[in-house]
Symmetry: C2
Subunit: 230 residues, 2 copies
Amino acid sequence: MTARTRKAQRRTDALSRERIIEAAVELLDAAGEGGLTFRALTERLATGPGAIYWHVANKGELLDAATDDVVAAALAREPAGRPASPQEGVRAVALGLFGAIERHPWLAAQLAGQLSRGPERPVPPRILERFGQQVRELGVPESGWFVAASALMHYVLGAAGQHAANVAYARTLGPDADRAEVLGAVAAAWQGLDPADYPFTRAVADQVRDHDDREQFLAGVDLILAGITA
Amino acid sequence: MTARTRKAQRRTDALSRERIIEAAVELLDAAGEGGLTFRALTERLATGPGAIYWHVANKGELLDAATDDVVAAALAREPAGRPASPQEGVRAVALGLFGAIERHPWLAAQLAGQLSRGPERPVPPRILERFGQQVRELGVPESGWFVAASALMHYVLGAAGQHAANVAYARTLGPDADRAEVLGAVAAAWQGLDPADYPFTRAVADQVRDHDDREQFLAGVDLILAGITA
DNA sequence: ACCTGAACACCGTTCAAGT
DNA sequence: ACCTGAACACCGTTCAAGT
């Protein structure tokens, strides 16, 4: 067994756009956005960069495709039957995205990037559509559709991203840090702020310690639902 | 006048962390996140990279400091007197951030990045605090403080980021594209979606064309305020 | 049509050397 | 204490050449 033997075997099946995107998602999951490089990709796929460029225009397109793939899967994973109510439908979509961002923490920044990079990106309409269909069934007058669906989308993406940050921060504290430790760390960071400048943030630090991220997240969704139907 | 004369003069005043951050913000404003490189920075400041590293740990810290600077300025720019009501206070903070993101479109992705990179980043607590203080004065019971302030923060950052994307997209269409053209372009992009998959998004495309971004933004803030006080 | 891999331009960062 | 600038490792991307 020479040293070279340990390298990835030469691939036998053909390369394809799907296989490349799949490998990109794996790299992103393993090491975050910094983990996705063409060098890592060529090694994992046992090719040269030219082969990848045959299937994908550039790194940006690959990142977009990976984002699109993961979001589409999350939105498709939903319960088979129709939701009991539009409210339940909203919660289901929200939890689907929450879970996707939890499993793929790099998604949060990526989605924010697509959101702030023009209207023709594929992912935002996909998400807006799902929330929007429930908003319509909520009986909201048409003039309020866009604002209601936008509010849901922006809150869900932002709050889920913050949750993912907490989870990632937990890993920093050691591989077996549990929920209490993570929340404790967030609370501790906020308790360390200047009392004169941050009275509110220090006050809520306690709440952050005692509550479950997912519960808080759903409470936020319900708050916006209350605003929509007010 | 030799070719060399056109290069930036050798700096006479001393370098400082503030001057570096200032130059970084200018580069970001001029060319977005890709415009901030140490090479561009050294040329603009007429130094070598080592000089910059004497004042700043690395690029990430510089980006964070630039973000922090701009957000702090936006939150400080507020009206002198106390707001007429907590609701007005929330709108003022929201519009302050909206304006900052409009003037510095790179802020949107940067803020999302800080949000999803752990609780000890300096900027999110700064924003949470401002919304939180108004939430408290709204008479919300303490158990609901965090959710209410988070909902405001996430909506505002997300929606303002999308607005900034629209503005940036407008510049793409030509230097003198006006509001109608921009909104028309967004509407057109959404109208081009598959009618079977995107009935809602296509329906709201018309609203997007006819409404003002700032009005829609404030309507979203009011929606969340309604949910908070429901 | 699909893949190889050397080469290129550019990037963030370091560090021995200067003042 | 503060700054210089050559050098390094690494990155995305290209392209002439192969099959």
